[in-house]
Amino acid sequence: MNITLQMAWRNLWRHKRRTWLTVGAMIFSNLLLVFMISLQFGSYRMMIDNTLKSYTGHLQIQRMGYNDNPKIRNSFTDIIPLANTLRKRLSNNKVAARGVAFAMISSKQRTYGLQIIGVEPAFEPAVSTLPGLLTSGRYFNDIDAEEIIIGRVLARNLRVNIGDELTLLGAGRDGSIAAGVVSVTGIFDSGINDIDRLMAQLPLGYFQSLFNMNGQGHNIVINAEELTQVTLLKNTVSKILPHELQASESQRGKPNANEQQLVILDWNQLQPGLKQAIQADMISAWFMYGVLIILVAFSVLNTQLMSVLERTREFGTMMALGVKPGRLGTLVISETFLMSSLGLIFGAALGAALSYYLSFVGFSYPGMEEMAGRFNLPDRMYPSLSWLSIFLGPGIVFFCSLLASAYPALRLFFLQPVSAMKAV
């Protein structure tokens, strides 16, 4: 084997330019693949993190059926004690209970309809970034305070400022009229127009009395430390949650109005669009990568086929001297192996260097800002390097190159030494 590798190495440099051109094609595509894949990993991660952190969270406990039909009556009882239990049992503070309702909100001059979220002032900042985005005023400090926090756009449209009063008018859980007066304590700017215009927060205690919730609420948000731990956390939560409260598999999709059954939904069930957007992007990206890889494979096939054909006489002589076709085949494969290794090493190294550099300074292109806003991305992207993102693309190129040289190598088995030695 040693001598085969040595021969293969020397054979490569019989045609320096050809070898470098083929290796060049590999380096170029490997560099692109490492960069693109790192960028993809980086942006997917950011997209998931930013979307979930702003509101949804990693896990939510809801009454079965609420996710498809978010109505005020689909709530469940004793939400705050349940959240307290979870916090204690999980020894994790990233747990917060919420209530969701719809109301008309009026200032002296204007009226708008919007979504009202009741939150636990002490715990909401641990599960969502919104409380940290206040541009003026402060967050709630009392769960029963008659206070409200609204978005920047809504504040401008209502023409109100910190300390101004707003009137809320909606329907309570039992259909009764819910009306109250609250003062604006904070104004947030999430940068997402829809959130800044269509969402407001109340302290959960006041929310429950205003909407006649009777201690009920709509969801408990639970965040994991890392996205990768979500599945584990979901199992743990399912063990903690009293068994009789949970909907069994067979009950799913058949909500029973009389009993309340809870379900634990992960971010993927709460925001199916997120994973699907990533999937759609993956499909088109892998189509592109596939084309690049096929083109490199053609390049290798061409080089190796030529290099075998031009050595017909040489191979004929070697066979006449007793070298088995299998060994010649191994030689050709070894040549490709060495060539692909060069492409892999240089391509992955250059690609990793480029991505590493950009993971600090960031990367942007014209028009990205507008697009990024749609997917909750910042206006610069940062590739995320990992062993997988470095070696996935180049590894496939390496493998496909070896595969492409199979045809030239197999041809050797059909070589007739006598006619081969006479070939021009």
Partner: protein
Amino acid sequence: MLTTLPFKIIFTLAWRNLWRNHRRTLIMLAAITVGVWAMIFMTALMRGMVDDMLDNGIRNLPGEVQINHPQYRDDPNINNSITMPDSQLRQALQNSNISAWTSRVRVPAVISSERDNRGVTLIGINPANEARIGFDPGSIIEGRFLGDANDNGLIIGAKMLERLETRLGKRVVIMSQDPDNNIAERGFRVIGIYKAKLASLEENTVYAGIETLQKLLKLDDKISQIAITGDNYRHIKSWYEPLRIAAGDNLQVLPWYETDTYLGSMLAMMDGFVLVWIIVIFLTLSFGLVNTLVMAVFERIREIGLMQALGMRPSMILYQILTESFLLLVIGLILGNALAVISIIPLQDGIDISSVAKGMEMMGTSSILYPALKLNDMLLASIIVIFLGLLTSILPAWHAASFDPVEALGKD
């Protein structure tokens, strides 16, 4: 005699040389074909997606150009209404490039059924004009479209119907605000249910007759906006400018790419993407192309030396190698383009991508993707491949032309 060869002979020589090593030529052709196919196929898919995104987006705005109160976009309130177009603006709207225009009332409102209530965008329309520019009557799946501007009915989305737990023919209450800040409310009968390409629309937009709403909201004949279309979003310059002048300073006239900057940037980004994609594929191909030519020259060193010894000018050798490259590129392009057309024809009826529909909706496209094969894109790909291909072939060709005949003849 051989100093200058007629083009025909160079061509014949190049053609025959190409097929001396048919395996190599075929592999290279296959690579070019796949490359060109991928360039055009991918571009057609992406174009189809962006076209759909723009069509949906502009239909929802609606119109390529909108006329609003200067404050309306920032604060879509009833107090930021405008009057019907005056004679000067009416004249500008007569422009032959404008195919339709319509006026609308568009205010935030609350809709309530017996079971639930929601915040919505309430739009008052002129049914006949609206159909040509914004709301598509074909999207009504149950019931009927509004008859005229005085119609007392309400059109709501299928999703909204579900949320409100109401039915066709039932009454719902619409609540909004009149210019004096009084609550204006009245009951409407649901006369039509529509299904939008983008599900999020269904949940937040309802339609009523414009005159009915003007009465309800005490607007007299005031409106929120005028939407104008020329049926071609790429060419609005010819009528947008005169319109802006005619509207004067008290009205804001905005083209679609400024009303929705996401849509505008998508169009620009798409054009950029097509170019980058074509060039990346080309670069990957170019390594193989140069390699093929280098090999072709290498195995003919003696032959080239002999031709030069016989008096053939180096420039003729250069032309010959370039012609070989040209032929290779042209055949590859023809095959690649043909393959692209053949592979797209069966997809004309659309590709069902509903498995990722919710993800596509984040981008603003619907769940069926119609590839858009454009002659311009095919030309662009072909011209770039020919031009850059010949450019990269100059090096090996020039190398061949600069052999020293004596040395070349001495090689074995």
